[in-house]
Symmetry: C2
Subunit: 392 residues, 2 copies
């Protein structure tokens, strides 16, 4: 089921899941989404991971059939789990948690019907809280992803050509990303976002509102995917915000950088970009274990108000209600950096911070980086230069 | 909400949905997934489309807020729909269908609670059956997608270089696809598949089983996405099956082609490839409105058995249980071409047919094309040459 190398790491994850179960009085947990099976086993398979709080998990595998080694049971249908769990004397007696926020209503009911007598709970918050705190192994994966993400962005100035479009820039960088090992797949929790590889926003396209829950909008090139690049020709004085996904090993990093086409002379845009960096620096200083996530938001908003830039903060025509989010296997993990967040920062949490602005006539400005929380403060996992880099 | 140009087309779609509702006695239908909102309105938005069988649908929009024109109501929360529907005198009295196969359990229950007194039904099969039959407008989009998909594949021989890997070939073609306007996003119904852009399989990597419900497998380059290209160096005698997505306008086409690295001398592989084309030709002749989809499968299997190639059909180490599938906004629409399908072909249905083989020591062979069903027979929407094309 899993390679021996990763077993010590998996035991760390299992214990975290089991500790959370004990704390909640959750007897059993059944995971089945790709992201959670990947977390629980180190690989994606089609099947289930069944947890109780005191023993090692049981893996039920539908596919690939007959090709995985280790402690697992091959099944054809989920119903076969009942007999297996009963014979293992592990069939839950009081309650079981299912992934109610990611299983479809139909899938959930099919699984819930296997445990007819006992209480059903929502296991999604539990596993998302566990996944929000990364192990050293996971952090190392994210560092590696950040390094390659940096390398991808280092090609922007060489790729730039006079008269090219935002979409051409995007496809060139996607291509370079693939050469650097980007898996490409952009994993998103929930149904509020869709994208191919992220977004490249030039000029006033940044002010086109999108239906999606990303920090920025963009019209896109088709009404079936209304976000990001829309074919804008890059012209002097525009900003170019590059926010492309980095998924080099199953763990994502999130990074945005703003480039100036030739030069940005608009003082408001220059001030807003500087403020984005200043907000980041202020948050880097205050972000420590125990700090309330909502306080990070409050500090950012305070700094924005001080400069009277609220009208442009996190968008202009349409504004996002968050300035950052957890990141890991999915791009939108916990915690979410909002004014109402109940989260406190913990050692091992990773988050993307993206205090951005949209300035009419110029475009999006600001920076986004991925951070990891340590006892003594935060570590920055994405490190490409942050100034408004001029492209010629 | 929608442009005037597309309104006649939308009226056709609305009538199809309403006819299906009347046939089932479904009073109301609430759509909220991106794909179904795109179908119902011609664009993706965040919100809901509410249908009754006799009046034009009501659109409730959460985002983009304040930027869409037409007959719609802006809402912040789904709960606001109740008062609106009541004041419009359209609040359902007997039953409502929700997307039970795509809404999460949590989302479904939130929506269901808005209609506490009435029967809840699963609206997913209804809308998927409606979407399975394309209008002339949709077929034209798929033709256009097919033409660009053909153009993308026409670059394979120029892209090929001695010593390149399957992954390098994939990234080159992804890049070319983007130049040709590929949106990239690969929309999949359900949770049984994940991919970035599709799959490129070289040599024995085609025999690596995958957890996903694609026709073929592949190891991938990371256990977080175990499918497709795995970095195999393309060597003489291998087959190279290219099965990359074509989503040029919101409607996908599906096409696979097999290339020979230099030359394939293995007689079994050559015979299997020919048989794939022969199965396709037989099915092209028999596929007409009213024909049972399961009979298409039966004919294919019969032809495979006649040549004693069952052991290699639809995979070797792991075999897929279907030889084709509907295609449109999503890659896996109805009908699915399986032995137990209850579907009959109808005018306007579109399907991908992919009778493929995996030959140990060579790799995957065969062809896949997308077809549309007309009164007089099928139209092939993907038309790149189908022979085993040799790459030097």
């Amino acid at each position: 089921m899993y390679s021996k190398e990763i077993l010590p790491e998996l035991r760390i994850r299992w214990k975290k899941i089991q500790d959370a179960m004990k704390e909640q009085g959750t007897e059993a947990l059944l995971l089945t989404s790709s992201v959670n099976l990947y977390y629980a086993s180190g690989r994606v398979f089609n099947g289930f991971a069944f947890f109780t709080s005191d023993e090692e998990p049981v893996f039920f595998v539908r596919r690939p059939f007959g090709f995985l080694a280790g402690t697992l049971y091959y099944i054809r249908k989920p119903e076969e789990m009942v007999a297996q769990l009963t014979s293992l004397n592990r069939f839950p007696q009081t309650n079981i948690a299912l992934e109610a926020d990611s299983l479809s209503y139909t899938e959930y009911n099919r699984l819930a019907s296997l445990f007819p007598e006992i209480e059903k709970r929502n296991g999604t918050p539990l596993i998302r809280e566990v996944r929000a705190v990364k192990s050293d192994y996971e952090l190392e994966k994210m560092r590696e992803s950040g390094r390659r993400h940096d390398a991808m962005y280092s090609h922007v100035s060489a790729v730039f050509e006079e008269g090219m479009t935002d979409l051409e820039m995007s496809s060139e960088l996607e291509y370079i990303g693939r050469q650097l090992g980007n898996l490409g797949l952009f994993r998103i929790f929930g149904s509020s976002m869709e994208t191919y590889t992220g977004s490249v926003l030039a000029g006033d396209n940044a002010d086109n509102p999108s239906p999606y829950d990303f920090s920025m909008g963009g019209e896109g090139i088709d009404p079936s995917l209304p976000m990001g690049a829309n074919g804008t020709v890059l012209r002097p004085g525009m900003s170019l915000m590059i926010d492309l996904g980095g998924n080099f090993n199953g763990y994502m990093t999130d990074m945005s950088r703003t480039f100036a086409i030739h030069k940005i002379n608009n003082p408001l845009a220059i001030e807003a970009h500087r403020l984005s960096v200043a907000i980041q620096e202020a948050i880097k200083i205050m972000a420590k274990p125990g700090v309330a996530v909502k306080d990070l938001y409050a500090v950012a908003l305070e700094m924005v108000k001080e400069k009277n830039l609220e009208a442009y903060f996190m968008g202009h025509n349409q504004q996002a209600a968050f300035i950052g989010h957890g990141v890991g296997i999915e791009i939108n993990e916990l915690p979410v950096i909002t004014p109402r967040s109940q989260h406190l920062l913990k050692v091992g949490m990773t988050f993307a911070l993206e205090p951005k602005f949209v300035i009419p006539g110029v475009g999006a400005v600001g920076v986004e980086n991925t951070f990891a929380v340590h006892q003594e403060g935060v570590e920055q996992l994405t490190n490409f230069p942050e100034d408004l880099q001029e492209l010629f």
